[in-house]
Symmetry: C2
Subunit: 246 residues, 2 copies
């Protein structure tokens, strides 16, 4: 059997997230597995680079699956795009090395969280942004973001209370840009805990609103206590941009 | 009573078009009238610059309405954006001269029709574009568009078979641009007949697909026969960009 690597984009609005769950058929993984099974005639397991939450979007999710087919990678892409719903798209299919594993081999991920503070309402992008009432203090957010970057125990930013494994991660960069009323928070790191990007975003937005001091961040990291961090920013503003491999 | 001019944008996907109709409450005009009535406590008639079809979008629709209120124009904008659904937005409210009429005073309109021929599927813009199977011959489309421009009887491009009034209009320009897999057809004219932009777009796409010769356009205009023109391109790709006033 060949090992295929896929790059996907999807609008996560109407899905229960990436991971298939018993009795729930509207997950991205579930849709991929269903249509690959239809294509090949056999049961297929699709392994994702990570699990995006319900409502989170992706422009560069990576996954892999092992199967046999007479179709070329281009033909697989064509088949999948014809059969997948219009809010999921295969951007690329290629044959990977037999050992390739989308999750274990991932060495970095980029996420982008988008907020809107422009004129009126973001009518055409409303499902992909968080609308803010007031323009936040972006400079204060950048200062706070500087403290979040590094190699830390990010337990304060972990949505899973029962996490027993290590919560140490490396966040290489958090860039905050502003254009035409949109504020983008772009995170790059080796990996992220459950809800970590959304909790970091909520925390940075509280800094931007003046409710939290940038200088309080080191203490917050130190505390390893989720209840001290900010709110979990809504899923709709979050997008997995890309996954890095060596 | 003061006469207020509004500029609106909306995602037309889930509406039955601009114009209110008896027994149908999901029209843009109906939503505007309802919320202005709630705001002022009286019945209000909203006059639009034109009637967008069901499913057509707008980034710069103009309308006007007469009423009394203690609110400032900025406060009216704020009230409306808070109460209107998230797919309709008031971009601007201002006090207009008492004689201003959004339709009678309009001297020009710009519409944009968007097609997609890029990689995969336009997941995030899927409700605002027509996806084409094959890249059209844009140069042939531009040539055909050149013949469509001018002052003509556009009866061949009129969706209303029972149109008794003049079907003569002036189309100043049709520009076709291509970027990142998107093809935009931008129309500017003094006014457009029912479905006219969509039928011109369908005709140009047939030229682009090689099914129709650019040189056949003058004859098609001459014929004044709707059945000889191209298909009516779907509403989803069309957007009213702006309305001009002196």
């Amino acid at each position: 059997m060949k090992n295929y690597k896929f790059i996907l984009c999807y609008d996560g609005t109407r899905y229960k997230g990436w991971e298939h769950q018993p009795g729930i058929d509207n997950t991205i993984q579930g849709k991929m597995e269903y249509h690959l099974a239809q294509m090949t005639g056999g049961e297929i397991e699709v392994l994702g680079a990570g699990r995006t939450d319900a409502g989170v979007h992706a422009k560069g999710m990576v996954c892999n699956a092992r199967f046999d087919t007479a179709l070329t990678p281009e033909e697989i892409t064509g088949y999948m795009n014809e059969h997948l719903p219009e809010d999921i798209c295969v951007l690329e299919t290629r044959i990977a090395s037999d050992r390739f594993h989308a999750r274990y081999n991932a060495v970095g991920k980029t996420y982008c969280y988008t907020c809107y503070v422009g004129l009126g309402k973001p009518v055409f992008n409303r499902k992909y942004v968080l609308t803010l009432e007031k323009r936040p203090d972006v400079e204060a957010m950048r200062k706070a973001a500087g403290y979040l970057v590094g190699k830390h125990d990010y337990r304060s930013f972990c949505g899973n209370k029962h996490m027993t494994k290590s919560t140490v991660r490396i966040v290489d960069s958090i860039e905050i840009s502003e254009r035409n009323g949109y504020i983008n928070l772009t995170y790059h790191g080796t990996g992220f805990l459950q809800h970590m990007v959304r909790i970091m975003t909520g925390t940075l937005l509280e800094v931007g609103a003046g409710d939290r001091d940038p200088e309080s961040i080191p203490e917050l990291i130190e505390a390893c206590d989720r209840s001290l961090a900010g709110f979990t920013a809504p899923a709709r503003g979050l997008c997995l941009i890309s996954v890095d491999y060596d």
